[in-house]
Amino acid sequence: MAFSLGVLLGYSGWLPLATYDGNPGKYALYILMFLVGISIGADHRSLLLIREQGIRLFLLPMATIAGTFAGILAVIHFVDGLGVREGLAVGAGFGYYSLSSILITQMHSEALGVIALLSNIIREIITLIMAPAMAICFGKLAPVSAAGATSMDTSLPIITTASGKEFSVIALFHGILLTMLVPILVTLALTLF
């Protein structure tokens, strides 16, 4: 919403911000990352769930991360103009489109930020539409994995419908962990490769 409003205003040229260069600067990014850190550190739901459920809660998030990166590595050579690090950074959004697109815009470029925004919105939309079919064809963990970071909030209702209520704890933990990992993995993808 905020994004489309910006596109409209920028496109129409109504706002007298002609000199604004579109870059809020690295300090905006620093403040944002600090706030992301606080929100992660203050969230103890994941610790509670680990205490209750044990270490095997980590299996599915690992599968989602490995599967996402493997899938992207398999196709990235056929995508024009995108390298391995750009592809992995976009994938590391895991459906968390707002934060990942902002980070990628600040750390890389606006064009890649737009790709990240669209790609992660598409991931959420496909999950919302296809979750029941995924659960039937590929087992009840598939909708959770497809949802990525959104399995803790926006996709949670469709997951409990498609896979059953007993998967809501798995989905919740999966989403919380991936949401925490998004900023870390996006940064690592753009830094390491």
Binding site: G6, V7, S39, A42, A66, G71, L141, A146, I184
Partner: protein
């Protein structure tokens, strides 16, 4: 960009130490949401004004779609393997 991770880690420690002060945490959380909104708006604004990116939108969208489908196919297949071997035995 490693400094970004250092700053985030500092935030995590601060957040962990403040985890019982729910009011302050809620203020920080809404600050986070609003700054993400603002930055998304600025991104949209910059892009709307940039004819180069605007004309490239359809191809950027195609790239985005390819990446999403590949990423989801990979995750779903691994989730399927996990389901077959670990969960569905009972």
């Amino acid at each position: 960009m490693i400094e970004v991770l250092v700053i985030m880690s500092a935030g995590i420690i601060v957040g962990y130490l403040m985890r019982h002060r729910r009011r302050a945490i809620r203020i920080f959380d809404s600050l986070l949401v609003w700054s993400i909104f603002l930055l998304l708006f600025l991104l949209g604004f910059t892009i709307g004004r940039d004819p180069l990116i605007m004309s490239a939108l359809p191809s950027l969208g195609m790239i985005a779609l390819v990446i999403s489908v590949a990423a989801m196919t990979g995750s779903i297949l691994l989730a399927f393997i996990l389901w077959k071997f670990f969960y569905n035995k009972k």
